[in-house]
């Protein structure tokens, strides 16, 4: 498997330009900015409760932090899969892939260029959202910043995993099915990770998926564990970190190998 560095640079630049032309991207930007405003207001809230006649102020920043980060992580990861789900496929449908591949470049170079193109947009959005959340939670809530940085890194790794898997699925499945798989997969993994963290017993396929699948929410919760003092089951940090890295690298390599080997003529529009 060969990757040519200079063509990769040109193809990635082109893929970013193509991604920026998509109608989805302005929508993502608007949603991201709105999310930042939402974070701005949510992270400044406190609860005044009366305990045995004594008014007390409850610090909700830890809870809000976990909730906000979890939601943003799920949204960012799903977005990465959504953007990648047709970024390679569409150039076969419009016919331009045939012309790129008539040039002396390897197939993995084209696939990696398209993946990087979509990832630059989706990782940018993820960084904006998770970085913004970290900033507000740290400044407003006084929560330590380092866990948020680790959590952001784990989100970025999950974005790579989901984008590579979605791009690979798009080579075999119709766009709608690939998109549904992205949302279904991210949602299912998030629910399983959350259920396991809450101490709910998982059995059969659910157990296998939680234990060995991409730790989408487990990695975020493990990284943010210094933010909470009680509650969820302890998540082994190194296990989820290793699994996040393995899934990101594994899905990336798998995409490149599959794209290198499959018959591409069936992807072309007839």
């Amino acid at each position: 498997m060969r990757i040519e560095s200079r063509p990769l640079r040109w193809l990635t630049t082109q893929a970013v330009r193509d991604a920026s032309q998509r109608r989805l991207v302005p929508a993502v930007l608007v949603i991201s900015v709105l999310s930042l405003f939402m974070m701005d207001s949510c992270t400044s809230c406190n609860a005044n409760v009366v305990v045995q006649g004594e008014p007390q102020t409850m610090d909700l920043s830890s809870l809000a932090g976990l909730f906000t980060f979890g939601l943003l992580a799920i949204w960012s990861i799903a977005l990465a899969g959504l953007l990648a789900s047709d970024h390679l496929r569409e150039i076969f449908e419009d016919g331009s892939a045939t012309l790129w591949l008539a040039r002396p470049i390897s197939r993995p170079t084209l696939a990696l260029g398209r993946l990087l193109g979509s990832l630059i947009v989706s990782l940018g959005a993820a960084l904006l959202l998770c970085g913004g959340a970290s900033f507000f939670l740290s400044i407003r809530g006084g929560l330590p910043l380092l866990p948020a940085i680790w959590a952001t890194l784990s989100v970025l790794l999950s974005c790579v995993t989901m984008a590579a898997l979605a791009m690979m699925a798009s080579l075999f499945l119709p766009r709608l099915v690939a998109v549904l798989m992205v949302f279904g997969g991210v949602g299912l993994m998030a629910v399983l990770n959350l259920a396991a963290a809450a101490g709910r017993p998982l059995a059969g396929l659910y157990y296998v998926l939680h234990q060995f699948g991409p730790p989408i929410l487990s990695a975020v919760m493990a990284a943010l564990s210094p933010w909470w003092t009680t509650g969820p089951v302890e998540i082994p940090l190194w296990d989820v970190a290793l699994r996040s890295i393995s899934w990101a690298l594994g899905s990336l390599v798998l995409l490149l190998i599959v794209f290198d080997q499959i018959e591409l003529s069936r992807l072309e529009a007839r």
């Binding site: 419009d94 331009s96 012309l99 591949l101 040039r103 470049i105 018959e263």
Partner: protein
């Protein structure tokens, strides 16, 4: 040395055979016309050369390499029948990107883009978005990207598609000029006159089978023109009826 070689190549799509045992040797500098009705297997043959399809049996080599190897596509210019151009890109930006991917040195890209833009008559439209161009102008952009970097091998699928008579004549000149520089050319076309003018050898396909192959003199019998020969080979009954 052969530039393209098919050795016992067959291509099946599921239970359907698109190409049935094709043997072909295209030497350097030759010009081959690939003829046949729709669905005869012409585009499949081109896909096999480009590595977009894999042979079910036999072996294809391009410039001595397996088509999946990028080396096989060094100096290759390709113009597909269904031209997929990014509508949001400007003409010169698009051709410039192809120049880079074709291996033109970065410092020579601007000059090479100027050359093909002028050659294909796109000088006044170089800054336009491809999406606003007419079909004929888009076909010229297709030619420009195919001719970038002075290719050694040109694969042209219905090259006159969308061109007006003047454009068709110019296109023949571009192809002839490339041939004069030693370029090997493979043209798949329905326009028999175009193939007759540009090619020195023919492969006629029918339902995935090679029904005739050789120089034009070998395929076209005495007293008939290429159209008569094509009808005779593709539809023997119509051919016989026509000559009676």
């Amino acid at each position: 040395m052969s530039v393209i070689e098919f050795a016992g190549v067959r291509k099946d799509y599921g239970s359907r055979t698109a190409l049935e045992t094709m043997d072909l040797v295209l030497p350097k500098g030759a010009a081959l016309g690939l003829l046949g009705p729709n669905g005869a297997g012409k585009t499949t043959a081109l896909r096999l050369i480009l590595g977009m399809a894999h042979p079910s049996a036999g072996r294809v080599t391009v410039q001595g390499w397996d088509p999946l190897d990028p080396e096989a596509r060094q100096g290759l210019g390709y113009l597909p029948e269904r031209l997929g151009l990014p509508t949001h890109m400007a003409v010169e930006g698009y051709i410039g990107l192809h120049a880079l991917l074709a291996g033109v040195p970065e410092k020579s890209v601007a000059a090479e883009v100027d050359r093909v833009i002028e050659l294909t008559g796109l000088t006044g439209r170089r800054s336009d978005r491809i999406g606003v161009l007419s079909k004929g102008l888009a076909q010229r952009v297709g030619f420009a990207q195919a001719l970038i970097g002075d290719p050694k091998l040109l694969l042209l699928d219905e090259p006159s598609s969308g061109l007006d008579p003047i454009g068709m004549r110019q296109a023949r000149e571009w192809i002839s000029s490339a041939q004069d520089r030693g370029c090997t050319v493979l043209i798949s076309s329905h326009l028999l006159s175009e193939v007759e003018r540009l090619c020195d050898r023919l492969v006629v396909l029918k339902e995935g089978r090679v029904v005739a192959q050789g120089s034009i003199q070998e395929v076209v019998h005495e007293g008939e023109d290429l159209e008569d020969a094509f009808v005779r080979l593709i539809n023997p009954l119509a051919g016989a009826g026509g000559t009676q």
